[in-house]
């Protein structure tokens, strides 16, 4: 297990925090680590910052994320990794689509050529909007930006002008984005989230059609996903029971 000392903790909103810590490992955008909270749990988290000071952005869902979100300067963070295949970062124009904290792993891809589509349930869920020069914002309840889902925001954008589309968020949102862009722009990369236990391609809990999200992913190309009938459709629960997404 690796450890690092927390350098800084920044509160983004009621339940979302940025945690910064020193780590010299060379990590690619989209890769993740398994963060251990001794005595509680171990969860996958990706990076919203990839310099010498690494940055993770974490939303509180349960005990483990709560514990990590509340780490303070000087505390120790335990983790293993980095794991998974990173996004391929292109030189040209990029469209970054992130739902909620799904925008976090896309943050390292932001540059002058990036256009952001940020979605959330409410305005509270929208983070990192100030990092983008050009962006669209949508919320389910219309409390910030336009009312609607991420895919609705895409309808106002000319997708053909982008060299690569990047998307990260709940699988159901990714599926709707895929269904929409499939006929317009074939160049897209999606970062998937499925329940993870081992993180190293051995337990089968994160699998999708024979691929392990933890090792073959979490980033998959549009072409790969098109050949996965499970995508947006079914997955295995923590116990291994096939359930609808």
């Amino acid at each position: 297990m690796k450890t690092s000392i927390i350098y800084e903790s920044i509160k983004l909103n009621d339940n979302t925090y940025i945690i910064k810590f020193q780590d010299n490992e060379n990590i690619g955008p989209g890769q993740f680590i398994m963060v251990w909270v001794p005595g509680i749990n171990e969860i996958p988290l990706s990076f919203s910052g990839l310099g010498d000071l690494k940055e993770i952005t974490i939303k509180i869902y349960g005990k483990a994320s709560e514990h990590i979100a509340h780490l303070k300067k000087g505390d120790t963070i335990f983790f293993r990794g980095p794991y998974g295949k990173p996004f391929e970062n292109v030189a040209g124009k990029k469209l970054l689509i992130g739902a909620g904290t799904g925008i976090a792993p896309l943050v390292p891809l932001i540059n002058k050529n990036a256009y952001g589509v940020l979605s959330g349930k409410t305005g509270e869920d929208i983070i990192f909007q100030d990092r983008f020069e050009k962006k669209s914002i949508v919320t389910d309840d219309g409390s910030y930006g336009k009312k609607g889902y991420a895919v609705d925001a895409l309808k106002d954008i000319d997708l053909s002008e982008f060299d690569m589309i990047y998307a990260c968020g709940p699988e159901i949102m990714l599926k709707s984005v895929m269904d929409y862009i499939i006929n317009i722009n074939g160049k897209a990369q999606f970062s998937l989230e499925r329940p993870m236990k081992c993180g190293i391609g051995i337990c089968d809990s994160c699998s999708i059609n024979g691929y392990q999200v933890c090792t073959d992913g979490p980033v998959f190309s549009l072409n790969q996903l098109m050949e996965m009938p499970e995508f947006g459709n079914t997955r295995l629960s923590y116990s291994g029971k096939r359930i609808k997404i």
Binding site: M1, M34, T76, R80, K197, I200, S239, G240, R242
Partner: protein, 298 residues
């Protein structure tokens, strides 16, 4: 050149996927079979859905690998679809099962047969409900009862997978004599402490050690039991390459299973093992892989 082996069923090569590794989702099993495995054993399935333990469920620090998945499984009634998907891989799928008594084992075994499994593997190394720290497999009478009961209820081969956490595995093996093959070995109980956290790493504290570190224990059990009784044996524990597999075969195994090595070498390890087996046999003028089974005993 013949690399087909007979373990009650014929499998096209001696390399099988071990239970519990990449074999919960039918699509993954299918992919493993397409990657060259001769057969695949499913995750151990019980009567009821079981969540298993919370992460961390693995500790990895090569050569040490410890897991405590905790027999998470969807329950036999929910496993039909996965087998159905796995069978699209067009090679034998073997259902691994666990239960608390002969009745449970035979119920699940019958289901596996109905689902289309080519054989069942009895996981006799799981925790016993009626006794702290005990395992089904360390009670020879119970093993005997389970094996006989399952054998009498199904028409596909029955394999017994034994635990190395015992003082007398020969007694256990004899209790399982009616099985069509013995599968040796399951993981060795072990644990790791993170000295910075000052805490055990696994949420369950204890887990099972597998991989490279346990190969000499697996070889010993295969050899020891092959010497004692003339039973088909499937060797498992720490196989990472063709030399490891040949060592198990020379010790007495007719086929071998691969688990932990997959995290190091990926699913393609099965294709590689097949190619390396052909090269090995060519270089050593061996026509039939079955000739090698147990040669170290002679």
């Amino acid at each position: 050149m013949n690399i087909e082996v007979d373990i009650g069923i014929k499998i096209s090569n001696p390399f099988m996927l071990a239970s519990g590794i990449l074999d919960e989702n039918g699509y993954t099993i299918k992919k493993i079979l397409e990657s060259g495995a001769g057969a695949a054993v499913t995750k151990s399935i019980g009567m009821e859905e079981r969540r298993g333990y919370e992460p961390p469920v693995i500790y990895e620090n090569d050569p040490v690998f410890i897991n405590a998945i905790g027999l998470s499984n969807p329950g036999i009634e929910n496993f039909f679809e996965e087998i159905k998907i796995a069978l699209m891989g067009k090679k034998p799928v073997i259902g691994s099962i666990f239960g608390k008594d002969a009745e449970e084992f035979s119920y699940i075994a019958r289901k596996m047969e109905q689902y289309g499994a080519s054989a069942v593997e009895l996981n006799l190394s799981c925790p016993h409900v009626n006794g702290y720290g005990m395992e089904v497999g360390s009670d020879p009478n119970l093993v005997n009862e389970i094996v006989n009961e399952v054998k009498s209820k199904i028409n596909i081969p029955v394999y017994s997978k034994l635990s190395p956490n015992t003082s007398d595995i020969i007694e256990e093996a004899k209790a399982a004599e009616k099985s069509d093959a013995l599968v040796l070995i399951n993981t060795i109980k072990a644990m790791a402490i993170d000295i910075k956290a000052k805490k055990p790493v696994l949420s369950n504290i204890y887990g099972g050690m597998s991989g490279k570190a346990i190969k000499p224990v697996g070889i010993r059990y295969v050899y020891e039991i092959k010497k004692e009784m003339n039973k088909k044996i499937i060797g498992v524990g720490g196989i990472e390459n063709i030399n490891d597999a040949i060592e198990y075969i020379m010790a007495g195994a007719s086929a071998v299973q691969i688990g932990t090595a997959i995290y190091k070498y990926g699913k393609n390890i099965f294709n590689k093992l097949n190619n390396d087996l052909i090269s090995y046999m060519t270089a050593n003028h061996i026509d039939n892989i079955n000739e090698l089974t147990g040669v170290a005993l002679k």
